[in-house]
Assembly symmetry: C2
Homo-oligomer: 233 residues x 2
């Protein structure tokens, strides 16, 4: 059995013990890995199930198989990351890839005051997230969405979550909460949070933490926040 | 004064209060930022000094200036990162960039058992490191080198350092030492450490820690180790 990748199959393409891979996955299975009928691969539905799948039909456009075993993985700790959008596409995709590897459960791309509005290519974001769960063998597919401001983010997700904002030059220490605490992590765009955004955070009693004395790029701060939230205790 | 970038000037190009920028920096100053004589920029010699520099001569091949103020930054905690080389150039450069932002003091690229030998383009590594200190405004330039194996790394750097290796599926917890403890951090290549490398680490009583249940890419493990060593307490 090939355990190197965990292929992603949307739940709608699984019908009892029979499933059909998407075209992207079919391409990977046939053209890159050159699998044959009878070969066994592992796949996830993105909602916690990992399946051993015996391939039945292997065509470059259509790959189908039967599920011969299913394993369930419990839900992961709630980690919503709201980050200012990054203009450089590779850096944005890198931030998303790393967030997925490091355990994010939802990514919110924020057209914040210093980030400005920019067009997001949905299909590329989807592909980046799927590639990252495949590579890191993670059976939960994080969701993602766009929001117009950090205020929108707070209105939508603040309730019942610990909210932590990364911002340079703040004093004091912060003790990360237990791993199962639902968290909303806020990371600014290149250029950081606006004075207005910081003021509102202070006023609404959000935890503001410093990530050290060096100036970090957005994608680096994304990595640091998730490492600290998930491993830093 | 433009405080956005911290330009790098090798100590050999500084003669008392007068300095000359390298050609790469001259290009950045003239072509990208379009500075003029009289403008003031900040530069570092990479050994802890940050200088305010008034530009005197501004030509696309030669930019020179005079130092009008110098600030000294104490040495940073000793953090040697030894990582298996990554075949994909962008991922290797990304790992290096992130290590620099997150406070590495020396990077050792290891042609380890599972990494194999690969040609390293020195000039690109130099450029990546310099770009990262400029961007993160860090006045210390990390060194880098290549080594043939992790055994070489241990022989060279183990003494008087806390040695921590990231490896999946290990049990137990690890308490990171105080920030000023000299540390040698070991991260495997794609494909991880070889059984031989792990066995030797176990035998020589190196601390082996897990970075969670998900499989991390090399560059992600690099970020996680440095975040934990520098911020995770």
């Amino acid at each position: 059995m090939d355990e190197h990748f965990l292929f992603y199959v949307p739940p709608g393409q699984i019908d009892h013990a029979r499933l059909q891979f998407t075209e992207d996955e079919a391409h990977h299975i046939t053209k890159v890995l050159r699998k044959q009928p009878g070969d066994i691969v592992q796949a996830t539905d993105g909602v916690g199930n990992t399946m051993d799948v015996r391939l039945i039909e292997v065509d470059k456009k259509k790959v189908a198989g039967e599920v011969i075993a299913t394993y369930n993985t419990p839900a992961e700790p709630d980690r919503i990351l709201a980050m200012g959008v990054i203009r450089q596409r590779e850096r944005l995709e890198f931030a998303i890839e790393k967030a997925v590897e490091l355990g994010v459960t939802k990514i919110v791309l924020v057209h914040s005051e210093h980030a400005g509005r920019m067009e997001i290519k949905s299909r590329r974001i989807d592909k980046t997230i799927i590639a990252a769960i495949k590579q890191s063998r993670r059976p939960w597919l994080p969701a993602w969405e766009e929001r117009d401001s950090f205020f929108d983010v707070l209105a939508a997700y603040r309730e019942s979550r610990e909210v932590v904002m990364a911002h340079p030059d703040v004093e004091g220490t912060y003790e990360w909460k237990a791993e199962d605490t639902p968290m909303l992590l806020l990371v600014g765009p290149e250029g950081g949070f606006s004075p207005n955004e910081v003021e509102q955070a202070v006023a609404s009693d959000i935890k503001i933490i410093s990530l050290g004395q060096k100036r970090l790029r957005t994608e680096t701060a994304v990595c640091a926040m998730l490492v600290l939230a998930n491993l830093g205790r």
